[in-house]
Symmetry: C2
Subunit: 142 residues, 2 copies
């Protein structure tokens, strides 16, 4: 609270949880989190956070999500190595969506091996792939 | 499908609905839609779309959402005048999030009168407002 500048890097001291109480998690205790590449503004992916993963994200400066399919914390990159360094966190007017400003290790955010999950664009009445995988997904997950 | 270029402007012919069947709406028939400013990459807001609002968005080239609070179609800007011209639509790998590339009329996307809903940033352990309203919200909604 004292002398924080806009450029302050994560992790920050989490001695107060008032900021965490502001967050409006849904009835399942989750909030959607949008990861945006700070270098070029690309929206990389959308995942979910619960209170614990959001607190750990802030405490460590690494993006931590909640995996709904595995029902456990998902420390992004724990298997793939494609971690996300968190440079900033924003929350929207309704406090029910989080925007995570990240540096994407390896330049690959998507489990398909592409740099972002939004690699399909509606063109000519069909979803067209606009970019190819940068790495073989088979080599990401062992 | 024929000769569509990446720069093709909306609206596009919606003579096929195969693209719409690809979209994975949630059990309530909704999908989160992220509106991103194509000019500077800013994430402006997140709202919801149902099948009807997504189809109308594509048919008209204007962003149309589903208002959960009002339980009706929400043609963005219908009251405020702050419409969104849609230049592109993307879908993520799981086909359960839509990214809407927009030109924001009036430069104000948020109902608070700010250019984007993500005007609060976590700094020094608290959510700090990083930008002021550009217009008085009282003047937006009559």
């Amino acid at each position: 609270m004292t002398g924080a500048s806009q450029d302050q890097a994560f992790p920050i001291g989490a001695d107060s949880v008032a900021w965490l109480d502001t967050v409006r998690f849904d009835p399942q205790g989750l909030i959607p989190a949008i990861a945006q590449n700070v270098e070029n503004g690309e929206v990389l992916m959308v995942a979910w956070m619960n209170r614990e993963s959001l607190a750990e994200t802030v405490a460590t400066g690494r993006a931590v999500y909640w995996s709904r399919s595995r029902q456990r914390l998902w420390r992004k990159g724990e298997e793939s190595g494609h971690t996300q360094t968190v440079l900033g966190l924003r929350i929207d007017c309704d406090a029910d969506v989080i925007l995570v400003e990240v540096e994407q290790t390896g330049g690959v955010a998507c489990h398909t091996g592409r740099r972002r999950c939004f690699y399909r664009r509606l063109e000519g009445g069909a979803w067209q792939e606009t970019e190819a995988p940068l790495v073989d997904p088979e080599t990401i997950y062992r």
